[in-house]
């Protein structure tokens, strides 16, 4: 559980890391019925101007949700998640996401936390910056 007494602007969330493999992506393809060839076939990815197959955007968005929930556990809730797609996560690279607390405010019996999000690959390529808001029960 997050200690709201010590939570401060600038605090970094523990990063989330996921390998960019077909093992990961095809599981999501099955759950989301998302079988576009450019997520499974390097040749198709190259035909579209990339160096290989690349991860689906909804999975990147879902990984941001996982990052936030891993931080606050079962007692908070996600309010907003915005993600801007800058570069695709290519097959063979690793998706690494993190967040930092931008502002904190009290609203009724909840603490509203605004966060900056970032996601890079393991070579430092900027994948998908964004922002999020979560609501935590005031203790």
């Amino acid at each position: 559980m997050i200690d709201l007494g010590t939570l401060a602007v600038g605090e970094e969330l523990p990063p989330l890391s996921r390998e960019g493999t077909l093992q990961h992506w095809n599981r999501f393809a099955g759950a989301n019925d998302e079988f576009a060839d450019h997520h499974m076939d390097d040749e198709v990815g190259r035909h579209e101007g990339f160096s290989g197959a690349f991860m689906m955007a909804p999975l990147e968005h879902a990984y941001y949700h996982v990052l936030l929930r891993e931080w606050f556990g079962d007692n908070g809730r996600i309010v907003d998640v915005d993600m801007r797609l800058r570069s695709p996560l290519l097959r063979g690279r690793t998706f690494i996401a993190g967040a930092s607390v931008k502002s904190i405010e009290r609203e009724g019996d909840e603490v509203i936390v605004h966060l900056d999000l970032w996601a890079n690959d393991d070579e430092g390529t900027r994948i998908a910056p964004g922002s999020a808001t979560v609501a935590l029960p005031a203790q």
Partner: protein, 174 residues
Amino acid sequence: MTVAEIETLISDEMRAVVGKVMTTMTSYPISASDIRRWASAVYYPEVPPKLYWDEDYASKTPFGGIVAPEEFNPFAIMTKDPRPTKRVMRRTDFELILGIQPPPTRAILQSEVRVHYSGVRMCPGDIIRSIERIGEYSEREGKMGLQLYTTVSNEYINQRDEQVKVLQTMFVRY
């Protein structure tokens, strides 16, 4: 005329359909298995939190039972309405769905995804309706020439008429 010679990709008939309902869908009742499959995929290779698969654990949380992860898609495999059909139309031919001519572009990419959650969670047994609209068109010059940005807004509502979330996806066409 090539895309490079076009001054605007937004026609009058495109402006006229902004805000109009493009598609509606109704899900089958969400099953606990649907939720487990989704959670297993997005948490792989980790074990998902018990809230998504352990009824004994989930019943002792403030939710009172299993809930779906916020981003869960209840329309993924088949929908109750519309009935499944052979897929012949690209998902991104928005204007064709509305019965008008799409702009003469050659490529489409997602550029931004935004979601707002109301706080109402999706649970096993829920039936979700979605109402999808074109929320906005805009355009600007980019590396690939004139680029058209289309925001598609998708509202999820449960069987109690409670809003669950609003998902906005921005696509860029050029």
